[in-house]
Amino acid sequence: MPLIEARDLTREYSHGRMTVPALRGVDLDVEAGEFTAIAGPSGSGKTTLLNLIGCLDRPTRGRLVIDGDDVAGYKPSELAGLRREKIGFVFQTYNLVPVLTAYENVELPLVLLGRQTHSEIKDRVMSMLSEVGLAGLENRRPMDLSGGQQQRVAIARALVKQPRLVLADEPTANLDSENSEAILALMKTMNETRGATFLFSSHDPLVIGYAGRLVQMRDGQIALDERR
């Protein structure tokens, strides 16, 4: 069974009397462990698709199953639980909590899950920071880190709770090419070593080059879906 199963996924936005279709009946299956890039020009529906799969938005119609859960009838609290348990997010602008240190930012999802002791959390966080190459920088706050380092913290934060799925919306858009490549390499390594499923959007050829599967969007529909 695929990790993500989308059928006739449609999202329309209303502006007064006008209805703008952002996503038009998308069918998509993503298997566990895949490293998938969603590419396409601006306005093609990449971010809308990621928001729906990340349970941050609800489809106008269609069916969406995440890891066996049909989320169509979920209440907001149930969607929040699903996001907390199974999905990690990496954002273009990092979205780190500015008053917390790198350690505290990575610690946050585990504290919110509330399943581990303080020492277990500490071991996990330090290990995660080490994996993303931030050992020794755990006490720095986001404003004391470079863009690349901040995105590493964001990746560590997304992965520390060992989610089934990691969604990344333009993860390298704010980084230079050197840092972009490093971040992509890190994500690929995490995909291979931890088995986490990555689904990320981009229109950067460098990013797309790393993907094991490319889903090309155009005008709210999938124009191309190829595995490499």
Binding site: V99, L100, E104
Partner: protein, 324 residues
């Protein structure tokens, strides 16, 4: 989880010191302005109330109403207490009363040369009036009145507008109780400048006997103003609001009076919740006298209540009985 939220809050406060300081300063300034303006308003409110007591009404106001109309309308020559001075003297002898001043208030015009100004003329007993009002303490030029003299004390603003000084002559033109025109010449003996602008801008005081003769109403008064014996004649807002609803006030007091007594005002009905320092103005009329009735306006009931909860009520009863 609570520990996490507390820690997160503390970090937000301590790790963004500049924001915290700015926010705290903004809140402090806001509270400071609130306290300052609230204090100013409370002070203005208190001053207005003190002015009303000390310069306009006293604590309790007894009026007459030929038709039994128990409203707070200004007294007129049509509604005089025929034996006003005698009633005032009887009231002054009641326990807890510091003074009872009869006044004969009537509309008049002051004429000085070619200038004419409408005023509220008040005949006052020069020796009794200071027991209730503080006007005589604010003589800015000249002196206060003496009994029997053909003199007048003017509010400072009136004197300035008419360019009058002590020693000048002024003509007071009015109508008598019988609606005949009347004019008397009086010497300006003094001017008063009080904290109450109403007195300064619109009032002219003359001896009661002179006023009674001028309007053809000997011995009468349009109102009797009563001051209670109180350690603090000028109540603070806090003092007033802290007072309980008059403890001895009967909910249905009609039965306590002789047949024919009529009582009007919400305070006397079963609505004690409406009672407050500023809404306590009201009146009570007794039709025990066939010639006229008494009207009480306890605008400052609470101040009276300071010197004994039951007194204003007892006064009304006693005044009613003494006048019948």
């Amino acid at each position: 989880m609570l520990r996490f939220y507390l820690g997160f809050t503390a970090k937000n406060i301590w790790r963004r010191k500049r924001r915290t300081i700015l926010t705290a300063a903004a809140i402090a300034i806001g509270i400071m302005y609130f306290v300052m303006f609230d204090s100013l308003l409370a002070g203005a409110d208190r001053d207005a109330q003190i002015n009303t007591i000390d310069f306009e009404t006293g604590h309790l106001w007894v009026g007459a109403s030929q038709e039994g109309d128990a409203t707070l309308a200004r007294p007129t020559l049509e509604d005089t207490i025929p034996s006003g001075q005698a009633v005032a003297q009887a009231i002054a002898e009641l326990p807890g009363v510091a003074g009872a001043a009869p006044r004969l208030v009537f509309p008049a015009s002051l004429i000085a040369g070619l200038d004419e100004l409408p005023v509220s003329a008040a005949g006052v007993d020069p020796e009794v009036d200071p027991q209730v009002f503080r006007i005589s303490q604010f003589v800015s030029s000249g002196r206060w009145l003496e009994r029997g003299e053909d003199g007048v004390v003017l509010g400072k603003r009136i004197a300035d507008l008419l360019q009058l000084e002590p020693g000048d002559m002024v003509t007071v033109r009015t109508q008598t109780a019988q609606m005949a025109f009347q004019a008397v010449d009086l010497i300006v003996v003094g001017t008063v400048e009080t904290p109450h602008p109403l007195v300064n801008q619109s009032q002219a005081f003359m001896p009661l006997d002179v006023a009674q003769a001028a309007v053809g109403a000997p011995g009468s008064a349009t109102s009797i103003h009563v001051r209670a014996q109180s350690a603090a004649p000028s109540p603070s807002r806090r003092d007033l609001s802290g007072l309980p609803y008059p403890c001895s006030l009967p909910r249905t007091p009609a039965g306590a009076y002789t047949p024919g007594t009529t009582l009007r005002h919400s305070l006397l009905s079963d609505q004690p919740s409406e009672f407050s320092p500023w809404s306590s103005s009201g009146s009570w009329s007794s039709s025990q006298s066939s010639a006229w009735s008494i009207r009480f306006s306890y605008l400052h009931w609470n101040e009276c209540a300071r010197s004994g909860c039951s007194r204003p009520w007892a006064w009304m009863k006693a005044i009613s009985q003494s006048s019948s």
